[in-house]
Structure formats: C-alpha cells, structure tokens
Amino acid sequence: MTTTGTAPTRNAPVREPASTWTRRLRDVSFWAEWAALVGLVALVIVFQAANSTFLSPGNIASMLVAAAILVILAVGQTFVIATSGIDLSVASIMTLAAVVFGQTYTAGWGLAGSIVAAVVAGLLVGAVNGVIIARGKITDFIVTLGMLSAASGAALVLSNGKPVTIINTFLLRLSSGGLGIFGWSTIIAAVVAVLAHGVLFHTRFGTHVLATGGSAEAATATGISTRRIKIAVYTISGVLAGLGAILLIARIGAAEPAANTAFLLNSVAAVVLGGVSLFGGRATILGPVIGALLLTALTNGLTLLGVSQFYQPLAVGVVVVLAALLTRFQK
C-alpha cells in the first residue's frame, strides 16, 4: 500500500457513521431487511395504545406460548426455503405425527416411546420428501403438495378419523408450566431457534445449505452434494414438524387428525416476513422467529380488541403480501 493512497481513505470512516445511519434509514432495502421487526414494533405500539392489557406479563407469556409451535415450524421451513425449496407438507406432517403419537400412546408405548414415534414419523416423511425431490428431480412444490394430501390422508386412515384424548401430567406441565413468564414450550422453541442459528451460520452444513440455494450449479462445482443437502433440509423440516406435534398435543390435550392449514400458511408467511428470499441463498433464523411472533401478536391483538375471528386470516394475508412487496426492494 502506498502512503498517498491511504490519506483520502483515512478521512472517510470518520465522517461515515452519521451519514450511513441517515442513508440507511432512507434506504428501502434497510426497511425490507427488517420488515418483520418494524411490523412487530408497530403492532405492539398500536395494540398497546388500544388495549393496555396487551403488554401485561400474562398476555406476553400466552403470546409466546402460542407462538412456540409456529416458531418451530418456521425454523424448519427456513432451512427448506434457504435451498430455494418450499415445504407445503409441514402442517400435514405435524398432523400425522400427532396421530402417530395418539395411536402409539393408546397402544401403551408410554410417553417416551410415543414421543420418539412421533418425531421418527416426522423424520421419515420429511426424508421421503427430500429423496423424491433430490433423486426424482421433481419440483419441490409438487412433491410437498402431494405429501400435504398424502400425510393428512394417512393421519385420517391411522386414526380412523377420530381424535384421541391424551391425559398425561408431563404434557400438562409442558403446556402450563415454565420458568418465570416463559412457558416450557416457549423455552423449547427458543432452544430450537438458537440451535438452528448455530447450524446455519457456524457449521459447514449451514454454509452448504445457503450455497445450494444461492447457486446449485456453483455448489456442485465445488463438490457439494446438493442432493444430500436437499434431503437433509426436508428431513430437518419433518423432525421439527414432529416436535411441533408434541407441543400441539400438550396444548390441546388430544391427538386430532385435523388439517392444520393455518400452520402451513403462517410458517411460510413467517419466513417471508423474516426477509428470507424465496429464491434461496439468503436466510436468517432471527427474521422468521420475529415473523412468527408478529403473526401471533397480530391474531392475539385482534382478539383482545374484540375483532371477529373471521377477520384474522384477512389481516394475516394483507400483512404477508405487504411484506412480500417490501422484500422486492431487498438488495
């Protein structure tokens, strides 16, 4: 480096901090990157102004518990979308895993055995998704759309269409107990999110996931097996759906073969709100987690304000499309 070259560049950083902040605030892509957080803060302000119980410890705790399942599903969805795929079967896998739990529990497998069975069921269905997509070279959209139908069908067949009531003190404590204002399900979701962040940004696997989504061609050229990555992300999504099933059973006290369509739409919505590119290659875990919190706060706030339940899907739809519009300005 020559001494003449360093003189002008030395000056620049001194003036920069002030100017970068104002420039950032005027930059649309900054807002697009943080759409979920901005939206969450805005919602909190509006709802708190309208109803002061919104930010009461009790309501915060119940919102965090309500968000737990969605956070877990959104984390799985993030891994899939980071590879430029999409998992439309995530909610159906959760339903199937819940039914597997219910059937094995009534068959006397015990709590631990049933939990393992539910998670393994999720893992297997996710792996099937991944293998068909990677080996069969069929579009993610079609394969998981088929699996959406197949898994919910399998859940109906297995349960014969009937819900099974699960009475278990451990599951009861899981849904009602906790540390301070944080329920156990909230803590589980937080642990999942932290682990996922570590995997995505601090392991070779995470880098390869982003590379596969960013450019499958380039990833293959450097010797990364994009097939294996694809199979792995769908398996992760399946396992997390299995985990979500256990939290769902704990929450409602039954294993139902009901379609959980809202969870599917909201998991994709949370990821989009979180600024994750649907084309793959760019992802965070924090973004979708905030996205999931935002969606939960939205429905919770509307309920507190006494707005009819019928308006909630409408509000979610509007928010998601607005967020998607914003992401167009992402760099």
Binding site: H202, G214, E217
Partner: protein, 255 residues
C-alpha cells in the same frame, strides 16, 4: 527453481490418445497434449471442436473411453471433480461457480471450510477463514475486493479475481481457465491477464481456453489446436504466428 537433469520432468500433465464419445457423437478422437510446469498452455479451436470436453476430462467431470491422463508420470483415474481437485487440478469455470449471496471469504473456502473441533461438533472458524482469505486476495488481486462483501456486489473483474484466487490457493498444481476474460472490459482484462502471468511465475501450470488470439499470443508459451474432436497441432507460441494458428483451426493448414 531446481535444475532438472531429465528434460521430461517439467511435463506436469500428459494426455495420451484420449477418446470420448457421447452416443454416436465422437467428441474426442485420440487427443494427445502435454502441459508443462511454470508455463501457460493455450487450448484453441472453433466452437464444438472439443476443447471443453477435453477440459472436462482433465477436471474429472467426464471419464475418457480410451487413453490415459497422467500427472508427473502417474496415471490419474478421476471418478468426480473432487478427485481432480485432490490431485491438485483446479478449474475456473466460465460461469465462475461463485455463489453471489455468499461473501468473498465464504466462496473462497466453499466446501473447504476451516473448522474448530469441539468434541463431536465442528464449528466454523470464521475469523480464521476471513484472515486467510484476506491474505489470499491481497497477494493475488490488483483491485482487492473486501473479503466480507457479498460476491453480488463485485465487478466482473473482481469476481474473476476471486475465482482465480480460489483456484490458485490450496496448493494446486494446474489451474484450468475457461475463457477467463470473455465477459470483461479492457482494463479488467488487463488485470486478469496480469493475474494469470503471476500464477505462472509462482510455478503453477495454467491451461487457458481462449477465443482471443491476441491474448493467446500475448500470454501463452505453448498452443494446442483442436478441430472436430482431434488435436490437429501444437506449436511453441514463440515459433508461430496468429495466422498459422487460425489456419490450423479452420483446417486450411494441416500440420
């Protein structure tokens, strides 16, 4: 540089009578070429002459039906590009094979990440990779890109520099470059050419595919000409002219 008593030892890579057919299409017919250490070898020919197919055989993407490829006299049998890379053969692909959404250092270490081992888990050594990436980039490139910036934000020349950097690092012996300046402006082309010469001076063998005859004459030490799947001639660049090479390519001249 060590002085070798045997003159053939400076041949790094030898392709002997390699043939490859895709169904009825004979893409390569008895091709034999040699590449020397510390030299830039150019591979020229019209579109569809078989240059890319030959390069793909050397870099482990295709396996020849017949013939052998050997390095330092040892015969190579690649099952995949990974094997070729382990043998010290790196390829700078025409599309550069960079992931635009990842940073420069992530691209440089893609699938060769440095990790800390903590018992059963391996955690990325992000700092270490950034530091080493900075070293790699600053020794090679003239217009140094910031290692923490995403490749999407780099100019064409900077991207090429990153791709070449990746190929030159990791103790590679042979760097294959497919049209490294095809998409670049005049200034950037000059910088990339400087980089190619630097690689040669560091002792790498370079195999250069180029349609730019002026560039071939400027950079290379040896030229191999392909036509219709055959190697129709080889010349020392110092002993030939652009006209002769063109004549070999078009078939006006038979060597």
């Amino acid at each position: 540089m060590t002085t070798d008593t045997n003159t053939t030892t400076d041949v790094l890579l030898a392709v002997d009578d390699v043939s490859l057919a895709f169904g009825n299409v004979r893409a390569l017919v008895d091709v034999s070429i040699t590449l020397r250490r510390g030299e830039i070898t150019a591979l020229v020919g019209d579109n569809g002459a078989g240059k890319s197919t030959l390069v793909r055989c050397i870099s482990g993407i295709h396996r020849p039906d017949q013939g052998t490829i050997s390095m330092d006299g040892r015969q190579l049998r690649f099952r995949n590009p990974e094997d070729a890379r382990e043998a010290g053969i790196e390829t700078v692909h025409q599309n550069l094979a960079l992931v635009e959404d990842l940073t420069v250092w992530q691209n440089l270490f893609l699938n060769r990440e440095l990790v800390h081992r903590l018992g059963p888990v391996a955690v990325l050594d992000r700092r270490g990779m950034q530091r080493r990436a900075q070293e790699m980039v600053s020794t090679l490139a003239v217009n140094v890109p910031a290692v923490k910036s995403r490749v999407r934000r780099l100019s064409g020349g900077q991207r090429q520099a990153v791709a070449i950097c990746r190929a030159a690092g990791f103790s590679s012996q042979l760097v294959i470059m497919d049209e490294p300046t095809a998409a670049l402006g005049v200034q950037e082309t000059a910088r990339v050419e400087e980089l190619v010469l630097r690689l040669r001076d560091e002792g790498h063998a370079v195999l250069l595919i180029s349609h730019n005859f002026a560039q071939v004459m400027r950079l290379s030490d040896q030229v191999w000409v392909m036509r219709a799947g055959r190697c129709v001639g080889g010349r020392r660049t110092a002993d030939t002219t652009g006209e002769e090479i063109v004549a070999l390519i078009t078939g006006a001249l038979h060597s």
